[in-house]
């Protein structure tokens, strides 16, 4: 299933859940609704084996040509039930993919491109919108292709603990609600959400993105607490990069009202008219890689690639090329040299994202 079709599938299965069973639903709809958590392999399809054999892969005609073709319209918009009616080459490819997803990917990767038309080291279109939530003190919406993550920063006043009297707090939280992908269930956060929260907390801590002393208003009495809620709205892989980017953009967008402590009464006074931006000391940017067949590295994997990959690596760098995090949760082993390639790519990505953030922040600066 291509990225677009996958997105559409998840949408329709949600709708089916909400509205109950629809009597007039066409057969393929019903199938997608129940298919939710089953593996990608198609069981109910009698032609599967035969089609796989007969399938002439479009790549045979030339990879460059196909790259355009794959990214184009016809190839992607084919839905599954059409296979049963017609037998165009694209439909065959789609069938091949359903039956042998890994082999399908391998054929693309052999030609240094991916089914969605990207090169191995290419990110998806990255879009950022800041100030998306007007009620938050700072917010940003980030899209990596389909993956959509929104981050809202809420600032609250609190008293610090005694052993860190001049330090504020940053409390990140990553949420993966059930609406963002059929793979998540509602209820308490699952392992992936908790691991992502911990990763973001580590990035904040390791990179010193904000000096916690900057959040202090009155030593030992009053500090800012920044609650950074990161919510994934559409899950199509590479959650960590998108979350880290959304957090950085949202923090750059934060405007805190000035707070003074009245000497006489000892109470704090908040002046909402005078707002100051936060001092962002570092710009850590995460770059994730998926490892295919133990050797091949592809950047910015989508959900499908993540599922098929044998491992992932996330490298976080800042503008001084320091490594704020090298996060490789198991998976295929890599040599130091391969990791170095990841770092090199991450450094380039950091520059790009930094430019993007600067541009978007400058665009709404009051003049």
């Amino acid at each position: 299933m291509t990225a677009a079709a996958a997105g559409r599938d998840s949408g329709s299965s949600i709708a089916a859940e909400e509205s109950g069973a629809e009597p007039q639903a066409p057969p393929y709809r019903a199938a997608t609704a129940t298919r939710k958590r089953t593996p990608r392999r198609c069981r109910e399809w009698p032609l599967a084996g035969e089609l796989a054999l007969r399938c002439r892969h479009p790549l045979a005609a030339g990879a460059r040509h196909h790259r355009r073709h794959a990214a184009g319209k016809g190839f992607r918009s084919v839905t599954r039930w059409r296979h049963l009616q017609g037998g165009s080459g694209a439909a065959m490819a789609e069938a091949f993919k359903t039956v042998e997803p890994l082999e399908y990917y391998r054929r693309f990767l052999k030609e240094n491109c991916r089914p969605d038309g990207r090169e191995l080291g290419e990110f998806r279109t990255t879009t950022v919108n800041i100030g998306s939530i007007t009620t938050a003190d700072g917010s940003a919406l980030v899209k990596f292709g389909n993956t959509t993550v929104i981050c809202g920063v809420k600032a609250e006043l609190a008293t610090p603990t005694e052993d860190s009297a001049n330090k504020g707090y940053i409390v990140p939280n990553v949420e993966l609600p059930s609406l963002c992908s059929p793979r998540f269930r509602s209820g308490p956060p699952g392992e992936e959400a908790q691991a992502a929260s911990q990763f973001i907390a580590d990035v904040i801590e390791n990179s010193q993105i904000i000096a916690k002393e900057d959040l202090c208003i009155a030593n030992g009495k009053l500090v800012w607490v920044l609650y950074c809620d990161i919510i994934c709205m559409d899950y199509d892989g590479n959650l960590l990069d998108a979350s880290a980017f959304a957090l950085l953009a949202a923090l750059k967008n934060v405007q805190l009202p000035s707070v003074t402590i009245n000497e006489e009464t000892g109470l704090s006074e908040v002046n909402f008219k005078q707002k100051n931006p936060l001092m962002i000391r570092k710009h850590p940017v995460a770059t994730s890689f998926a490892i295919f067949d133990d050797t091949l590295l592809i950047v910015d994997p989508n959900a499908e690639e993540e599922d098929l990959a044998t491992g992932t690596v996330t490298v976080v760098t800042d503008e001084e090329d320091r490594l704020c995090s090298v996060h490789k949760p198991g998976g295929s082993p890599l040599t130091g040299a391969k990791l170095q390639d990841c770092i090199t790519r991450a450094i380039t990505r950091q520059r790009e994202v930094k430019k993007l953030i600067d541009k978007v922040i400058n665009s709404i600066k009051p003049k």
Partner: protein, 223 residues
Amino acid sequence: VAMELWGYRAMGGSCLRPFSCELGPLSRPDGSAAFLQGDTSVLAALYGPAEAKGNRELPERAALEVLLRPKTGLPGVGERSREQLLRRTCEAVVLGRLHPRCAVSVVLQVVADGGSLLSCCLNAACMGLLDAGLPLASLFCGVTCALHPDGSLILDPTTRQEQEARAVLTFAIDSAEKKVLMASTKGACSMEEMQQCIAAAQSAADTIFQFYRDSIRRRYSKS
């Protein structure tokens, strides 16, 4: 002896703390191991491969579960994130396809934390897998490196050394090709420093794998 080691450390070398390991200390689990690195101690127990419970069953391979139990309080987000690191590391070496529709559960109990806890967890988990006799593609070991503010590299740091350090990097190294299976870092470092840490971890891995081998050999020796 302490002075000697200190001298070695100052010379730019580094050393591992004393290691101890006990295989099969527990009677109930299918495999268990206690692993000690200096004052750090982790107990690992393994159940399975056994019948999986309901939704956890995977059609083509064994479902692996890793639980990390802290010493005080309840497991939190930090434990959950480490569980993920440990589980994916174990998944990379366990030949799960030999046990489809089964469940394997690895439980790690922190007994004492004296620094380099994550690497001790990794070592305990690997010894637990070995004691249970699960088929593995390769072994793995955990090595923690700390970068001291003065630029020196410390292997297998104590809690004190971890607190003083600028950055603490933990790697899991596999025994087949000595590649990096898992990486997790705290603090920031340059890429040169990270590559040095990887090289040091690979060098330390030799010593640890030899320790694995010796303890297994002793376990199955006749005397």
